[in-house]
Symmetry: C3
Subunit: 471 residues, 3 copies
């Protein structure tokens, strides 16, 4: 019997005094709604009131690269897990067989965040009290499958059950936002907002960049044949996203490099890219320049700007060729902010209308660069620990290394950053428990008093994210 | 009621056994005098027996960039906090209004070292038992203001009350040390010693370098028109500082780069600098060379050499232009020691008369480079966690990452590095409590016995700093 | 009385619940045999059944650079510790005097892993219950000396007493493995296996590289005058090592740089090296290429490939000239894997027959690069914390930063990496206790259940190393 997922004080420090304080703090905010200001849930889930998730494997394994990368790392081919091939060739279609492989190897997830989230999801969302094993795999498959067919497991029903106040999606600059429009038109009460993510048109080295520009021309109704038109088209799209409810933009870059080019330089590089021959270095300079432009636009239209850096995407060419992107083969890089982002902060970092939220995978920047930057520049807030680091230990390291220098109120609360809709409550629960444990640690050490502790707890669980994203 | 500042076991681990052991260790050293071998208190405070601190805001807000950077990061203009403009233009002069802003935003400091020091200072130095809030702001202002007018709050009286054994200042190479002379002449018993800091003449890219060289000529009585004279002038000043009681020098550099130039090369760069056209790279090479020279002189005159690296000063040009330096806008950089400092250690690292204390803001160097270097080279000692890192967590990380490899006795104890005189007891108290907690952790885990624990505790609180700085 | 080394719950967290859980977990595996898959014990110890260790100083001080580097860092000349001079000139020969110096300075090791291992060794191996001090130094010397003369302290007897299942040595590619042959021939039951380490012939900048190549020609019976012959000779030696029982190879490099050269390029560089004029950059490229070749050979012959990077060897030229290598003057460097090792992983990282174990001294790579790489590539496993980091804190940091992302089963268990044979039980005990404490922490926090905890404990103590090294 998997009793420990039901333990009210799980994940807390074992010291009885700290544990008790953490539980009290946690319980004081456990019923607050969830703010989900950054994530990758498909808006299609909510556009169709009768959307269903398919089989347990379609829901829990095939779309979750956190899960299947671990199985792959132990030598299980992705084909055997039903991951679709880029060329459409055959992969395993027997979902009960895939589920069995997963269950047989579930021990691999011991002590990992994926294991923790998954167990919480099974227990809290599906009411399954047994731990998944090779023996009970098929019985648990049946239980999940059965639930997934019921109306209570439609995405809209779960939205209410999960207590989500706002959920934002991440959408290409060229997206028509048709699903968002459908949600609006349906009159459903759920607050699902888009986020403007222009990476595919801004980063010139994106595969299919040329066709993305064509799409941009089409959706903006502008002929994007030069840099000036490109910038206008982006402004046009931002306005549309904002009108559709967006409060933020999101930008990924390999590094935090920023630097303004002259319009002439920018156009020269853009023209090269249109001809298909932008040099790698020029593409990087263009990205650095467009981050400056995005900051300028943020000040003008009020959209909060998020910047994520430091992931070497598709590190494994064999996997990329066979299966495409987002296959668990993105590996973090050494990252530097102090010099790289200085041009952007020099230009806009003191502006009262600019809001920049920074994310990063290189934890060495937490105490060294990010906390001091957030603790000085009015524009800068720190996003929560990202990707590999939104785990129990990762969150603890973040609090440890960020909070003393940045100050709690220069951080942006939590976001789940997930495409796995059903894992949202589990992810927020880990954050809220880790937060409660951290604040409790300050309390029992006499570093903060109960009044401050209570305010900090609520800020972490709810207020900071809502404020940082203007929700 | 802010009771927790009076809790005798504050900041200790919540485990009762470790907490008890930590308290016992702490109490065994709590009455030892304070050794303050590195700091930025103005010697003027002690030269004039009747020196007064002015208003609470002049004492606690305006000179403390730790405090006002946090307020600035949340959008409060520095003008509203009374920070003087470089051009002398007007800023807020109503100190009660500034204090009110600070009190209204005091929650921003929850869980930060500035908040901890400040609360301890209010409680321990001023006897204020309430937590500062917007409501009691003016009443607390009155209490502080009242105390500051009393003779018991003159710097010399506080020196005795704080139990300071030795306090060193940090003084430009060109400083006349007139205040130190006045202290000597006054016959007062307090031990206030200067420290020789030649950055402004050694780093060719210092603003006003040329006029600093003129000052150097004037105070040394030498005509500093070439490299040879420059070196002689520095030797002359070191001799003067030593005669005035200095036991150490202090050097800041952007990186740990060291390399000896030929005298001809050094002079060529120096001549360019005199003409106002030293290239940035040559300035860096000259600094690297002068660190070698400073090491040579240290061996000759016995002054302990401190080296601080890795701070990108004045990162925010808008703030620098309006307010000048030391405005909370210095941001740490990635730092490397193993290769950069090798020339210096190859030349002098084995010399029995050479003492080098290293400080750094990039914590990744603790376990990777600094601890192994200190655990091998006889000349090298590690300074305490610096600047952003002399906090409860920062000290814990330092002990964790440094001590196993370097060994406790290759570290240099604590220094407060502060210009905020009244925060000195609070800062030493955090260090001593964090030290007690760390040693207690070793004790209750059976890693050291009580005899070793007691010796380590005393070393951390007193002996190491005294020995490392030859005090 | 040094009682704490006999405390059954030493090194565990002070929280009573975690401590109790840790002790239970520890006791469940304390009697499992030791797997020692990577180390530097001299096989000569086992080739001669009557091998004796000499004096306590010959056993415990002179060969242990962990010990004498700490004494050197405090100004004690290596000559006074009997460390042999490279030129054969005189050093201290009075071992009782050396021992006295060590005992007088034993406090320097408080809280260090060397201190912990040493005290455990004295207690567990020699039955000495007093802590070493200047006062009892000679009496303890007598006790150790007496024991060392007894048959129970022959290496083969200790092998059984220590409960070692397999111990591997590290052997040059040119080694005749005569001692291993002698062990085999003797019919003794102990399992001592060689490991193939070709650094001295693969890294062209090795001192004496040319003569090493001559040795390679001699032992392989091939005329190594070009790159093709060089590769064939290495294949020949690997086959010989494998036949002698080797299951693994070991490779040290300054960085993780890998890149395939054409055979023509490789031969051109090799020819330059034969003439004594390989450029430093070409030597680095050749090493990067040979790592690719070693991976190819590993797939073909099944030997597990170990790669250690990031140590700046012989950082202190004065010490190197006087005493040679391995004098405690190797200092870690900043290390990068994501880009550097990508060519190797692109070529071989998905191959089911390739096994690569990575070690590193730059802990910032744990969470940033190594854990994500191990959590994706089937070929990659992470070795345990290396060198400076196989300490109580170092192991804790490793678990903290690696396990959530990599997953426990993508790690390779423990290895002691020691030349100090008598410290082997102490080193494994630290690992096993630190492991028990970590798993207990997961258990009492409700992150894993008892079944998982028990399996993880056994994996850490025994199974992972055995499987990763195919033992």
């Amino acid at each position: 019997m998997n009793t420990y997922q039901s333990s009210p004080d799980r994940y807390f420090d074992p010291d009885p005094a700290q544990r008790k304080a953490a539980l009290t703090l946690y319980e004081s905010i456990a019923d607050l709604p969830l703010i989900c200001p950054h994530g990758h849930v498909d808006p299609r889930l909510f556009a169709d009131p009768d959307y269903t998730f398919g089989s347990p494997v379609e829901l829990l394994i095939i779309p979750d690269h956190y899960i299947f990368r671990m199985l792959y790392s132990q030598g299980i081919p992705l084909e055997k897990l039903g991951i679709p091939r880029a060329d459409g060739s055959e992969t395993e279609t027997d979902h009960r067989q895939i589920w069995q492989i997963f269950a047989d190897h579930f021990y691999l997830f011991s002590g990992t965040p994926s294991g923790t989230w998954f167990m919480d999801e099974l227990y809290s969302v599906f009411g399954i009290t047994e731990k998944l094993t090779g023996t009970n795999a098929q019985a648990i498959y049946d239980q999940i499958d059965d639930k997934l067919r019921s109306p209570a497991f439609r995405p809209r029903a779960l939205f209410d059950r999960f207590g989500i106040e706002t959920l934002t999606t991440t959408d290409a600059a060229t997206d028509s936002l048709a699903h968002h429009q459908a949600i609006k038109d349906s009159g459903w009460h759920g607050r699902i907002l888009p986020t403007f993510r222009p990476d595919a048109v801004v980063n010139l080295d994106t595969p299919n960049w040329r066709s993305e520009i064509d799409k941009l021309s089409a959706v903006s109704g502008m002929d994007v044949t030069n840099y000036t038109a490109f910038v206008q088209a982006l402004e046009n799209r931002r306005a549309f996203f904002k009108q559709m409810g967006a409060t933020a933009t999101d930008h990924a870059a390999l590094t935090a490099y920023t630097n303004r080019l002259s319009d002439a330089e920018a156009d020269a590089i853009f023209q090269c890219a249109l001809k298909g021959d932008a040099a790698a270095e020029d593409a990087a300079r263009f990205t650095g320049h467009m981050l400056m432009e995005m900051a300028r636009m943020s000040i003008e239209d009020g959209l909060v700007m998020q910047l994520h850096v430091g992931s070497f995407r598709n590190h494994n060419p064999a996997i990329f060729e066979k299966f495409g992107k987002d296959m668990g083969a993105d590996i973090p890089l050494v990252t530097e902010f102090t010099e790289a982002i200085r041009p952007l902060l020099t230009a806009y970092g003191n502006h009262p209308e600019y809001n920049l939220i920074l994310f990063n995978l290189d934890e060495t920047t937490y105490a060294r660069e990010l906390a001091p930057l957030a603790g000085h520049y009015p524009a800068v807030k720190l996003g929560p620990p990202w990707w590999f680091h939104d785990s129990i230990n990762g969150i603890r390291r973040y609090f440890d290394q960020v909070m003393e220098t940045a100050g709690l109120y220069n951080t942006a609360g939590f976001n789940d950053d997930t495409r796995a809709y059903l894992s949202i409550p589990a992810r927020h629960d880990v954050w809220r428990r880790a937060s409660a444990d951290w604040v409790a640690g300050l309390l029992v050490r006499g570093i903060v008093d109960e009044t401050d502790a209570q305010e900090m707890m609520r800020a972490l669980a709810y207020d900071l994210a809502k404020r940082a994203y203007k929700l």
